[in-house]
Amino acid sequence: MSNITQIKRFLIEEFLPDVTPEQLADDHDLLSDGVIDSLGVLKLIAWVEDHFSLPVDDTDLDPNNFRSVAAIDAFITERRAAASATVGG
């Protein structure tokens, strides 16, 4: 299962129970229309840390990293690459 599918499934379960994955566009701005508020961002970060076993630093807490499904996916991909680079280096 791609990151995108998992991210959408989490977002729908948690915040958008009446929406299907097809209706949630990858670039939908989740912050501007209040799908995710500040508490929601914290919930989302906890899920990313837990689900992908990725530590999220305070410096990563830029809301723009969590603005859309695509942004979350990009953030996860980037943090994974950075983590394996550190391990590999």
């Binding site: 958008l16 009446d18 929406v19 209706q23 949630l24 939908h28 701005d29 501007s32 229309d33 209040g34 799908v35 508020d37 508490l39």
Partner: protein
């Protein structure tokens, strides 16, 4: 009409607010009498006298239509005379009010007419209120004796622990209506017969309610809308089609009554028009010449469909409060009935003075926004419980014309460069979410501009974290696949972020309603 209103205002100026309620009202009534003498030809006949004259000169003319029954003016006068005897048998003190617990019917109309003919003040609350609330209201009005229309059961009301002191009613008090009281005990609004007569004269001038005309009455009798539909029609000699409140939410019944009896005039809350459209299909109500909606904001879909339902009608948005009666009228251009929402409330009625106060309390000149104050020829002098006048009936703001008695509506409005007034929200619907002031009525209006939204309600719940948490509920159109995501996008496009409700609920069923047919906002909140 303008001179009439000026006369009243001058008297109010001389009296000032410090005077006791009864004194103010008496002096105002004297002022009215003086003005009436000066304009004898224009002075409207008191409603009971006008009704009696119709019954005498045209006894066979239809006064009421009720299901399959037609009640003529003569028959209605005979019913009213019988009720006058019942009233006389109560042995009330002069000026002592009577309590009416009246569900709409020809018999209920006769009972009210009897009170009007006897110049007997009467409290007419919603019969749907809880018994304890009704008992408290009757006690507050000083109504020791209750009457119900013939054929209607008399409910048992709980006795009050403490007898309330008898209020002093101003001379000439007739109807005592109640505010909708969404939060606490409804306020009692005593109306002088003169104020009612000035209103019925305006209504007849504007919509022609006289002989040969049929006027549909959708609202319950206790609702201020009935002053136009029922009472102005009976004063003018027309025929009132009474819609049975027991079937008022049955769209097919409503449509059948209207297609059968072919009214010329109909005023109703947007809910009624939306119901009609549900049942109408391609049926058109081509008899209707004047169609008014009032009492609530109309949704885009209902508004857009009205011209087809009412091909021969002029469409109006009427704005008024129980305390002042109607004060604004906007006639819609049929061609752009679907254009901008919200519909403007338009311009003040003849004799109505309006004032828009900016947040610092100064009156606004020209275009701009602020809170609406009105002063109408039809208004109450104050609430029955004068302690509740504070902040509502006022001579403020400063510079508004010395001594004129204004009613502070609580409605936030914008006046455009054409002098038309638009509602933008309620001052008491202002809440703070994360420190940002948002207006829940404005959010409702934005929700209603979505083409797939039929009804909307927004309410705020206290939240220790954010101050207030907004909950919204909508009813979507039949077959709509509207979801919270698309509705959120719509809100975010039109509102600041803090005003986008945290909880959105989308329903296929109509939202819960209050006894007066307005959406019950409290029902949107989660049960504690």
């Amino acid at each position: 009409m303008t001179t009439h209103a000026t006369g009243t205002a001058t008297t109010a100026a001389a009296t000032g607010t410090a005077a006791a309620g009864a004194a103010t009202a008496t002096t105002a009534a004297d002022g009215d009498a003086a003005t009436a003498a000066a304009e004898a030809a224009l002075a409207p006949l008191p409603l009971p006298d006008a009704f009696t004259a119709h019954a005498r000169t045209r006894p066979n003319a239809p006064a009421l239509l009720w299901h399959e029954r037609t009640v003529s003016y003569g028959e209605l006068a005979a019913l009213a005379d019988a009720e006058r005897e019942r009233l006389a048998a109560l042995d009330l003190a002069p000026g002592e009010p009577v309590g009416l617990l009246a569900v709409k019917s020809p018999e209920a109309v006769a009972l009210v007419l009897a009170c009007l003919m006897e110049r007997r003040p009467f409290l007419l609350p919603s019969p749907q209120l809880a018994p304890a609330l009704l008992a408290a209201l009757f006690a507050q009005a000083g109504a020791r004796r209750l009457l119900t229309p013939r054929g209607q059961d008399t409910p048992a009301l709980p006795a009050l622990a403490h007898a309330a002191p008898r209020p002093t009613l101003a001379a000439g008090t007739s109807f005592m209506l109640t505010t909708s009281g969404s939060t606490d005990l409804p306020k009692i609004v005593p109306l002088a017969q003169g104020a009612v007569d000035r209103f019925t004269a305006w209504a007849h001038d504007t919509f022609d309610l006289g002989p040969g005309r049929v006027v549909a009455n959708y609202a319950p009798l206790n609702f201020d809308l009935a002053l136009l539909d029922v009472w102005a029609t009976l004063a003018a000699g027309g025929t009132c089609l009474l819609i049975d409140p027991a079937h008022a939410l049955n769209a097919r019944h409503l449509l059948a009554e209207l297609t059968h009896h072919r009214p010329h005039v109909m005023q109703a809350v947007p809910l009624a028009w939306a119901l009609l459209l549900q049942a109408a299909g391609t049926t058109a109500l081509d008899s209707v010449e004047h169609a008014a909606f009032t009492g609530d904001a109309i949704d885009a879909r209902t508004l857009a469909a009205l011209p087809a339902l009412l091909p021969a009608a002029r469409l109006y948005n009427i704005y008024g409060c129980t305390e002042t009666n109607d004060s604004f009228l906007h006639r819609l251009d049929r061609l752009d009935a679907a254009a901008a929402l919200p519909v403007p409330i338009g311009r003040p009625l003849p004799g109505v003075r309006t004032l828009i106060a900016t947040p610092d309390g100064t009156p606004l000149d020209g275009p701009g926004s602020g809170e609406l104050y009105v002063s109408t020829p039809f208004q109450a002098a104050g609430y029955l419980d004068r302690s509740r006048d504070t902040g509502r009936f006022t001579t403020q703001p400063e510079g508004a014309g010395a001594g004129r008695r204004w009613f502070r509506t609580g409605d936030l409005v914008t006046r455009d460069e054409h002098g038309r007034v638009h509602l933008t929200g309620r001052s008491d619907f202002q809440v703070k979410v994360r420190g940002v002031a948002v207006n829940t009525a404005e959010i409702e209006r934005v929700l209603l501009t979505h083409p797939e939204v039929l009804e909307a309600a927004v309410a705020a719940a206290s939240d220790p974290l954010t101050g207030k948490r907004l909950h919204a509920a909508v009813q979507r159109t039949p077959g709509s696949t509207l979801n919270t995501l698309t509705l959120r996008e719509h809100l975010a496009r039109n509102l600041p972020r803090a005003a986008v409700p945290e909880k959105l609920a989308i329903h296929d069923e109509p939202l819960p309603k209050t006894a007066t047919g307005k959406i019950d906002r409290k029902a949107v909140l989660p049960t504690p």
